[in-house]
């Protein structure tokens, strides 16, 4: 029953920077339990779209609905349903792991007695329980990302946004993060929008959306994209579509 519930709906979103059209009539839908990868080269408009979905920026036209709530008009309800992992690290380096997670919980009005147990359990799952009282500054890039992922899920969002989350991670940490995300999708029926410019990260997605110069070039499953581009691997198909061949 949950499977087909629409969690993210973006309708005809347009965004200008002065006269430069950064996003041109972007529309997309993500259902419950779906992993959608937004694939695009640098400057495609991924981060602009991400900022609009998170309410950090307003679209010039169109609408963005999270679990039925319009981010522009009903920002608070929309944000309650959203977990975010930003491209730039957003962890407070001066606080410990536990303090960072409790800080986020308070911002989301979560009962601290309940969340303390969840925090510990999640840290155990990621092998970070011994670093619970370590300052975030002492963690590696991969460990910080894991903490950010735990943090983004503490308030039990319906939708998880991840903006190029593997930037700066070593191959081991990247694989780890991808595995964790696939597991979350499977076990918690979480909807995930993952933006990236790395083609291999899109291979496990339910749907791939290719964005270039603010336009959705194509969207579909991996096999649909391969057959459309008449290519055998996704990297070549992506390049072909982006170059407009």
């Amino acid at each position: 029953m949950l499977k087909n519930k629409l969690v993210l709906e973006i309708n005809n979103v347009k965004k200008y920077y002065n006269s430069f059209l950064a996003l041109n009539n972007i529309s997309l839908k993500i259902n419950s339990g779906e992993l959608v990868v937004l694939l695009g080269p640098n400057g495609a408009g991924k981060s602009t779209l991400f900022s609009i979905i998170t309410g950090l920026m307003r679209a010039d036209s169109g609408a963005c609905l999270i679990n039925g709530y319009n981010i522009a008009d009903n920002t608070i309800s929309a944000l309650k349903n959203l977990g975010v992992v930003f491209q730039q690290p957003t962890i407070d380096l001066e606080l410990t792991v536990k303090q960072n997670l409790l800080f986020h919980s308070r911002l989301h009005g979560i009962d601290l007695n309940l969340v303390k147990k969840t925090i510990y359990e999640e840290l155990v799952k990621t092998g970070l329980e011994k670093k619970i009282n370590n300052k975030a500054r002492t963690l590696s890039g991969g460990e910080r990302r894991k903490v950010e992922l735990i943090r983004s899920l503490l308030h039990k969002p319906k939708m998880l946004l991840m903006d190029e989350p593997t930037v700066g991670l070593d191959p081991g940490s990247r694989t780890d993060l991808l595995r964790k995300i696939l597991n979350l999708k499977k076990t918690k029926s979480l909807s995930i929008l993952w933006t990236t410019h790395l083609v291999d990260e899109a291979e496990k997605a339910d749907k791939i959306i290719i964005l270039n110069k603010g336009i959705i070039k194509t969207a579909g499953t991996q096999s649909e994209i391969l057959s459309l581009a008449k290519e055998k691997n996704l990297a070549n198909a992506f390049l072909k579509i982006v170059k407009g061949e």
Partner: protein, 278 residues
Amino acid sequence: MIFRHYILALLGLSLREIIKFSNQKGRLFSAIVRPALWLFVFAAGVGSAKGIDPGVLNFYPTQNVNYFEYITPGLLGMVLLFSGMQSSLSMVYDREMGVMKILLTAPLPRWYMLLAKLISGTVLSILQAYCFLIICIPIVNIYTPFLTNYTGWLLAFPFIVLFGLMLGSLGLLLSVHIKQLENFAGTMNFVIFPMFFISSALYPLWRLVDNGAIFVYYLANANPFTYGVEMIRAASLGTFYLNGFIVCIVCTIIFLFLAIRGYNPQVSLIKKSKAKNG
């Protein structure tokens, strides 16, 4: 439920400020040493044995006031001013470190997040202000007894809070416009020093007229810091200074309104991204 959420968020922001403050051992030390130097060194050198005449606007029971006592409200204002500007610095730091995004994507109204940030910063300011009073005033009092008694500083508490809120909201407003941490030196030169020196913190304003610095006199009269200092001076002596109270309330509202407007995604972030892209 919503009220609980608001209180939790305020608590979260305040705790974060306090934790960070307690990690920076030197911050409290410098917050006390700075005004202490002014009190023990500057006042000792500049102050006259005969005292100082506060002029027409005089809340003291006498027309001749001990200089150490005269500059104490101004030095208290200095602690609040530096602390308020530290809040702006922490906002710029949060923006550079990405933590600002976490604050702005929390499911709370943006105005409330900024108000909570202001309150949490003011809590720290008040703590520092009273640490200064508790440590320094008894020492000065041994050599030159003050007309202001200790309960006066307790009576002044709500006004010190208001002054702290005004300077904190000014800090928030500045953080909208300060893009990088490196620009904080500019804040020192163009905000903190002029605000402090062109006010009645160190000398009564009639002296400016007496010395022919009429333009500086008018500037000092237009400076909200002057009104804050006089409001605290009055309150510590058990008097209510209405003009100071009104100026502080109005300035707090204006600064906070402009800061909230500056953090509005429609007004500010778009402007920033336009600047970045074009």
